[in-house]
C-alpha cells in the first residue's frame, strides 16, 4: 500500500513541476505589474469621467499593490479605489453610480446576489468594480477597481509593504 503513493505521486511531482516550472523573471514581473497599474489607473480615470456630471463626483483616488499567494505560488496584484460623493439615500447613490457606469458600457453582475447593505458590482472587459459604503471610520461611498489576474513573482519575493497606497491623479 505504501508504494502506491510513491508510484502515483510521481505524476503529481511532474504536474506540480510543470505548473511552476521556473521562477518568473523579476524584471518581467515588475514590468507586468507596471503595465497592470497603468491599465487600472487609466480605467479608473475613464470611470470617473463617466460618473462625474451625473450628480456625483469622484475624488481621492488611490492605488495599492497587494501580495497574494503562499506555498508554491506568490503574486502581486494592483487595485485602485476612489470616493464617490453625492446626495440622497445610500442605496440611491450606489444605484446612481452603477447606472452611470452601465451607460458607459459596464454590465451589472451583482443583481440577484445577496448583500447585507447597498452594494453593486459591475464588469467591463477584464475589469471588475465594486461600489459600496465603508464600514469603518467615516461613512463614504467607495468604488474599487481590479483587473482580472495577477502578476506571479519569484518565490523569494518579500511581501509588499501593507500601507503602500499612492494617489492617482484623475485629470
Amino acid at each position: 500500500m505504501r508504494l502506491l503513493p510513491l508510484r502515483l505521486l510521481l505524476a503529481l511531482a511532474l504536474a506540480v513541476g510543470l505548473g511552476s516550472c521556473g521562477d518568473p523573471d523579476p524584471e518581467q514581473a515588475a514590468d507586468d505589474l507596471a503595465s497592470m497599474k497603468q491599465a487600472v489607473n487609466a480605467e479608473l480615470r475613464d470611470m470617473a469621467a463617466a460618473i462625474t456630471g451625473t450628480g456625483l463626483a469622484v475624488e481621492r483616488a488611490q492605488g495599492r499593490v497587494e501580495s497574494e499567494g503562499m506555498s508554491t505560488y506568490r503574486a502581486e496584484d494592483y487595485k485602485a479605489s476612489a470616493v464617490v460623493v453625492g446626495e440622497g439615500a445610500e442605496g440611491e447613490q450606489v444605484d446612481q453610480a452603477a447606472t452611470a457606469l452601465e451607460d458607459a458600457g459596464w454590465k451589472r453582475t451583482s443583481d440577484g446576489l445577496d448583500a447585507s447593505e447597498p452594494w453593486a458590482q459591475l464588469e467591463r472587459d477584464d475589469f471588475r468594480t465594486t461600489i459600496g459604503w465603508t464600514k469603518v471610520g467615516e461613512r463614504e461611498l467607495v468604488l474599487t477597481l481590479d483587473q482580472e489576474g495577477e502578476v506571479e513573482v519569484p518565490q523569494d519575493s518579500e511581501p509588499v509593504e501593507r500601507d503602500n497606497s499612492e494617489d492617482i491623479p484623475l485629470d
Binding site: 511531482a13 505548473g19 497574494e68 503562499m70 446576489l113 448583500a115 481590479d146 482580472e148 518579500e158
Partner: protein
C-alpha cells in the same frame, strides 16, 4: 457656617524616572555578542587545527593538548560572554518597558493634578454651597484620594522593578567577573535564575505544560526576568509559559544571533549553517517589525503587536523552526494557529506573517468585536517541494502533528483560567499535519479548518478529529490540483493523496465557499492552491468567521463526491466565484 473639605495632597511628589539608556544597553549587548563571536571563532579554529597531518611525536602531542584546552576554554568563555550579552539585552528590553510605564504614571499624575486643581477652584467659587454641592465636593475629594493612593502603589511597584532590573544586571556581570567563573558551565548565570530553574516544573526538565505553567506562576517578577535573561532557550520554547515570556526570551536570542552572526559574516568566518541562521534571524526580525507596525482594521489606535512564540533558526539543518503571531496570544478571545505546507521554511516567515495579518484583518473586520490573535506556526520540518520524497508520504505530517499537538497543549496550559476560542488551520501538507495533531479525543482545539488539502491523514471522517464533525471545516477551490488528490468515494484514487479528501461527502465536514476569481479554467497549483488567505476572497471571509467563533455563519458549499459510474464531481466547478462581496468575500476595508 464653615465647611471643611479635605483635599488630598498631590502624591507622590515626584515619580522618579528609571535611569539608563536602553539604546545604549543594546549597543553594549551588540559589542558583547561580537566579542562572544570572536571567542567562538578562536575555539573553532583551535579545534580545526588540531589535526596537522604529518606532524607527530611528543611536541605534537603537547601542541594538541594545548590547542584542545584553548578550544575548550574559549568555547566556554564564548558561552559565558553570550550569556552576559543576553543579560544586557534583557535589561534593555525591561528598561524600555519601565520607561513606558513611567511615562504612563506621569500622565496619570498629570490627570489627577488637573482634577485636584479643578476641585479646589470649584470649592473656592462656591460661596453659598448647598448640602448637595458640599456632598458632591466631598465625594470628588474621596475619589481623588483613592486614585492618588493607587498611583503611589503603582509608583512603588515601578521603583521596585527598576531596582530588580538593575540588581539582575549586576548579578549577571558578577557571575562572570573572574576567570574560573567565566570558564565554568554556569558562568554568567545569576544565582536567582539558577535557583528558580532548579525548582520542580521548570521548562526543559520534562515537566508537563501544566506543571510549567504552575512553576511560572510561583516565580516572583524578579525571578521571571532573571530566567528569561539567563535561560532564553528554555523559556523561549517552554510550552505552558505565557506567550509574552516566550516572546521576550526569543527576542533576546534573536538579538544575540543578529549581532554575533553578523560580526562573523563581516569577518568572513561564518559557516554555511550560520549563514542560513543569520538569514533566518533576519526573517524573524523583519516579520516581527511588520507585525509590530500592523494596525487593527477597526481601531486605528490599536496595534495588536507581534509575538515571537518560537525561534530556532538552526533546526532542521538550517530550515529553522519559528512561530510568529499577530495579536496578544495571552489575552485574545479568538486565537488561530496556522500550519503551512510544502515549500515552507523559515525564509518564508515574513510572507506568512503577512498572511496572518490578512486572517487577523478578516476576522476582525467581519467579526463580533472580540480580540484576535493569529499565529504562523512552522514547528515541523515541512517537505521542500513537490519533488521532495517526503512530500509523498505522511511521515513529516505525523511527526509535525505531534509537535503541533504539543504547541496547542502549551497554548492551552498557559491560559488555565481564560481559555481562548482556539482554531487550528492547516494548508496543503500542513492540513495533513493539522489532522494528525487534532486526531482523536485528546485534541484541545475548538475548530479545525483544512484548506487545499491533499488528504486528512489518519482521519477518515470529520468526526475522527477532536472537536467533532460539526466543528471541522474544509475549503477547496475546485481548480486546486493538490486538493483533489485525496480519496473520494468507493473507487478512491489508489493512494495518490495523503488520505481521505476532506471536502468529500465521505468525510462529511462543513465545506465552505473557497473559489477564487483568478482560479483559471483548469486545475493548477498556482493561484487555485495558494489564494486561500488572499484579501477579499471567499475562503478568507469564511475562515475569518470560523476563527471568530461563528462557524455556523459560513457560506457553505456542496461536498464533492465520486460516483462509481464516473469521475469525481465537484459541484463548485460551475459556480462563478465572488470577490469583495459583503457577507461573502469582503474581508478588508476598501480605504
Amino acid at each position: 457656617m464653615t465647611v471643611t473639605i479635605e483635599i488630598p495632597a498631590s502624591v507622590p511628589v515626584q515619580i522618579k524616572k528609571p535611569e539608563g539608556d536602553a539604546g545604549g544597553a543594546d549597543g553594549l549587548a551588540t559589542t558583547i555578542y561580537a566579542a562572544a563571536g570572536r571567542y567562538e571563532e578562536f575555539a573553532d579554529r583551535c579545534r580545526e587545527l588540531q589535526e596537522l597531518g604529518s606532524w607527530a611525536g611528543i611536541a605534537y602531542q603537547s601542541y594538541k593538548e594545548a590547542s584542545g584546552e584553548a578550544s575548550t576554554e574559549h568555547s566556554a568563555m564564548a558561552t559565558t560572554v553570550r550569556r552576559v550579552g543576553r543579560g544586557v539585552t534583557a535589561f534593555a528590553d525591561t528598561l524600555r518597558d519601565l520607561l513606558r510605564d513611567h511615562e504612563d504614571l506621569v500622565e496619570r499624575k498629570r490627570g489627577l493634578d488637573d482634577r485636584r486643581t479643578a476641585l479646589i477652584a470649584d470649592i473656592n467659587a462656591a460661596t453659598e454651597a448647598t448640602d448637595n454641592e458640599i456632598a458632591a465636593f466631598r465625594e470628588r475629594a474621596v475619589e481623588l484620594r483613592i486614585d492618588y493612593s493607587e498611583l503611589v502603589t503603582a509608583d512603588d511597584d515601578l521603583q521596585r522593578r527598576v531596582r530588580d532590573n538593575e540588581t539582575l544586571l549586576r548579578q549577571v556581570f558578577q557571575a562572570a567577573d573572574t576567570l574560573p567563573e567565566a570558564l565554568s558551565s554556569d558562568g554568567g548565570i545569576p544565582p536567582m535564575a539558577e535557583s528558580a530553574m532548579n525548582r520542580p516544573g521548570a521548562p526543559g526538565s520534562g515537566a508537563t505544560p501544566e506543571e510549567v505553567q504552575r512553576w511560572w506562576d510561583s516565580l516572583t517578577e524578579a525571578e521571571r526576568e532573571a530566567v528569561i535573561a539567563a535561560y532564553p532557550e528554555r523559556i523561549g520554547q517552554g510550552d505552558g509559559l505565557p506567550a509574552g515570556a516566550r516572546d521576550q526570551a526569543n527576542r533576546v536570542l534573536l538579538d544575540d544571533d543578529l549581532a554575533r552572526l553578523a560580526a562573523k559574516d563581516e569577518d568572513g568566518t561564518i559557516s554555511p549553517l550560520e549563514r542560513k541562521m543569520l538569514a533566518n534571524a533576519g526573517q524573524a526580525r523583519d516579520a516581527l517589525a511588520n507585525a509590530d507596525a500592523y494596525t487593527d482594521p477597526l481601531d486605528p489606535d490599536l496595534k495588536p503587536g507581534g509575538v515571537l512564540w518560537l525561534y530556532d533558526p538552526a533546526a532542521y539543518e538550517g530550515d529553522g523552526r519559528v512561530a510568529v503571531a499577530v495579536g496578544d496570544l495571552d489575552h485574545a478571545t479568538d486565537v488561530a494557529v496556522f500550519t503551512p505546507g510544502i515549500n515552507t521554511d523559515m525564509g518564508d516567515t515574513t510572507y506568512y506573517t503577512d498572511r496572518m495579518m490578512n486572517l487577523y484583518e478578516s476576522t476582525r473586520y467581519n467579526g463580533d468585536g472580540s480580540s484576535v490573535a493569529t499565529m504562523f506556526w512552522l514547528g515541523y520540518d515541512a517537505p521542500h517541494g513537490p519533488t521532495d520524497l517526503a512530500t509523498l508520504s505522511e511521515g513529516r505530517a505525523e511527526e509535525g502533528g505531534r509537535n503541533l499537538a504539543d504547541a496547542i497543549d502549551g497554548l492551552r496550559a498557559s491560559r488555565p483560567d481564560d481559555p481562548a476560542h482556539l482554531t487550528a488551520v492547516g494548508h496543503s501538507y500542513g492540513s495533513t499535519t493539522t489532522s494528525y495533531a487534532t486526531h482523536g479525543d485528546t485534541s484541545d482545539v475548538d475548530e479545525v479548518v483544512l484548506i487545499g488539502s491533499p488528504g486528512a491523514g489518519p482521519a477518515d471522517h470529520a468526526s475522527d478529529l477532536g472537536p467533532g464533525a460539526d466543528h471541522v471545516y474544509v475549503g477547496r477551490d475546485s481548480r486546486d490540483f493538490v486538493a483533489v488528490l485525496g480519496d473520494e468515494g468507493w473507487v478512491g484514487k489508489l493512494g495518490i493523496g495523503l488520505g481521505t479528501d476532506p471536502s468529500s461527502e465521505d468525510f462529511d465536514a462543513n465545506r465552505f465557499e473557497a473559489e477564487d476569481v483568478d482560479r483559471s479554467w483548469h486545475r493548477n497549483t498556482g493561484d487555485a492552491h495558494s489564494s486561500y488567505l488572499d484579501q477579499d476572497t471567499e475562503s478568507l471571509y469564511n475562515i475569518g468567521r470560523i476563527v471568530d467563533g461563528h462557524g455556523d455563519d459560513i457560506n457553505t458549499a456542496e461536498q464533492s463526491y465520486d460516483p462509481w459510474w464516473g469521475p469525481p464531481q465537484d459541484p463548485e466547478w460551475d459556480r462563478d466565484p465572488t470577490a469583495n462581496q459583503p457577507g461573502r468575500s469582503d474581508t478588508s476595508p476598501d480605504r
